[in-house]
Amino acid sequence: MLFLALRHLLSRKRQSVLTLTGIVLGTAAYVAISGMMLGFQTFIVDQLVNNDAHIRISAREEPIEPHSLDEDFFGPEALVDWKAAPSGRRDNAYILSPRFWTERMDRMPEVAAYSQQLVTQVIVTRAKVAKAARLIGSDPARQAQVANIKNYMIKGQFTDIGIGGNRIVMGDGLLKQLGASVPGTVYLSVGKGQTQPFKVIGSFHLGVKALDDSTLFGALPDVQKLNGTPSRISDIAVRLHDVEGARELATSWNILSQEKVQSWDQANEGIMSVFTTQDIVRNSMTISILIVAGFGIYNILNMAVTHKRREIAILRSMGYESSDIVALFLTQGIILGVLGGIIGCLLGYGVCEIMARIPVADRGLGGNHMIIVFFPGIYVRGFIIAFSSASIASFLPARAAGRLSPIDIIRSENS
């Protein structure tokens, strides 16, 4: 019936082209938008995964509950009714037994590298400018194995931080705000204790403004000294061989330990939920376009079936079976779906190619072009959506055509 189906489609050129256009646009939109959104997501995920850690083990921050101090003050038996209940946070936000973790991770084959860190809030001052920032103290060699920071350096070498000597690298945004330069000197203080001079030996650009504007890296002993907490660490950043396993591993560690263990995606649940929202928007938009196109197919085929009643009857009288008639109309929908899917994928690919050349703000390693994903799965899915919406839309009219009783039609036409 392919032959006749094609003839039918060609005899209604304008309708067919219009419907085809609908499917093509729907598919192309899906491909282009997916390429763009997934590109964006890949970029962000890349940033999250590579700039921080696959898994972060950090001290559990313990907020003080209204009754958590009762025992300390009044002994175990007392029933206390506070006028103004104590609140705040326990100060010792440190990992209590780092050896428990390091010994364990040394034995685990999943772990590629780990880096012990002391993370603390600091005030950075240069001349009269002061900024709050986050200072991460680590062993730079280990830190470089855990995160991709080396690739994002604009000036200086990350590992030149060494293992002591008050050397730091800072985000280029912070550098600019302070009016500092490389090399140069800034003063760091943690609020309590002494302000100390640090030498800026490098700067980096991660492409995430929040980080570039407020992050400093230094050597672990220097930071411990500045903070007045020798040999304490607050975090352990872990890199796995396979990032996919991060969530599962983090969850299992979390149960076993008194520290907080989070995989990169758990730590960034907010961003992940933005992605989910994006996916929903993307899918529902595409689906609505294709529903419209599907209705188009449904409509024109329905009309064609009504219009071609006599011809259906005559085909049946010649010995064509009900299934042949179903095939005749179903084929038309499928042709539109396949053609629309293929052209839509090609068009979507073209749009992606063009978008990939659009220059956008400089973003460190990502280069300065829009990141577009050309993952084949997008195209396969786009095609399947087009194909199935067209098939489903043509199935109902086709079935109706197959059920038409030829004799009733002939009778009504012939008398």
Partner: protein, 219 residues
């Protein structure tokens, strides 16, 4: 072998009104038969039943010894495709196909269009359509369209040709042409032709006339 109808009844609607009230008759192979009677007496209904397009409410239809009620739908369609041709008052050509393709539609179902092509062309030449093979139905006159439809009915060289008022829509010249075509095919190919007509002259061309009245066969 031929067609054998036994006590055919057909009712329509609810409450059922009987349109055919017990008809038994036989049509021999190669016969040339007309069916006549007043409008509404059941001629078309009878023709559709004997041509397997419509099942009777009761009674049996044997074609070439086979009970059409007892065979599968697939077989029935094959049967129609290979053994029967139809011509209706309205030609029902497929407007997307040219004349030759229309004629070859039954052959396409049997996947024999190449094999039947030469025959289709010779039929059409014989019907004075030699120059119109590639014309589309919209470019043909009513008479030409009807001749294309007849060629389509004959392309599989069926054993039976059923025609319901084949000349009803044609002027007398075209009507005459169609009837003499029928006659010739009947004689040359020994194909049975069963046609319903309101035209007395055309009915007289038949070897046998089935006269109907109010759901019964008079003679």
């Amino acid at each position: 072998m031929g067609i054998l109808l036994t006590d055919i009844r057909k009712s329509f609607g609810s409450p059922p009104t009987q349109v055919l009230k017990g008809i038994s008759l036989e049509i021999q192979e190669g016969e040339f038969v007309s069916i006549v009677g007043r409008s509404g007496c059941g001629k078309s209904t009878l023709l559709y039943i004997m041509s397997t397009l419509d099942p009777p409410s009761s009674g049996t239809v044997l074609i070439d010894g086979q009970d059409v009620n007892a065979i599968s739908s697939r077989e029935l369609h094959r049967f129609r495709n290979l053994k029967m041709g139809f011509v209706f008052q309205f030609h029902h050509l497929l407007p997307e196909l040219n004349a030759l393709e229309n004629v070859l539609m039954p052959a396409m179902k049997a996947n024999r269009q190449e094999e039947r092509k030469a025959f289709a062309i010779s039929l059409m030449e014989e019907f004075g359509l030699g120059k119109k093979l590639k014309s589309f139905p919209g470019q043909l006159s009513g008479g030409e369209q009807q001749r294309v439809a007849i060629a389509r009915g004959l392309v599989m060289e069926p054993r039976y040709l059923f025609a319901d008022e084949p000349t009803g829509n044609l002027d007398s010249a075209n009507g005459n042409a169609v009837m003499s075509l029928f006659r010739r095919i009947n004689q040359e190919q020994k194909m049975a032709v069963i046609y319903v007509t309101h035209d007395i002259d055309f009915s007289k061309m038949a070897e046998r006339t089935i006269q109907m009245s109010d759901g019964l066969v008079l003679s």
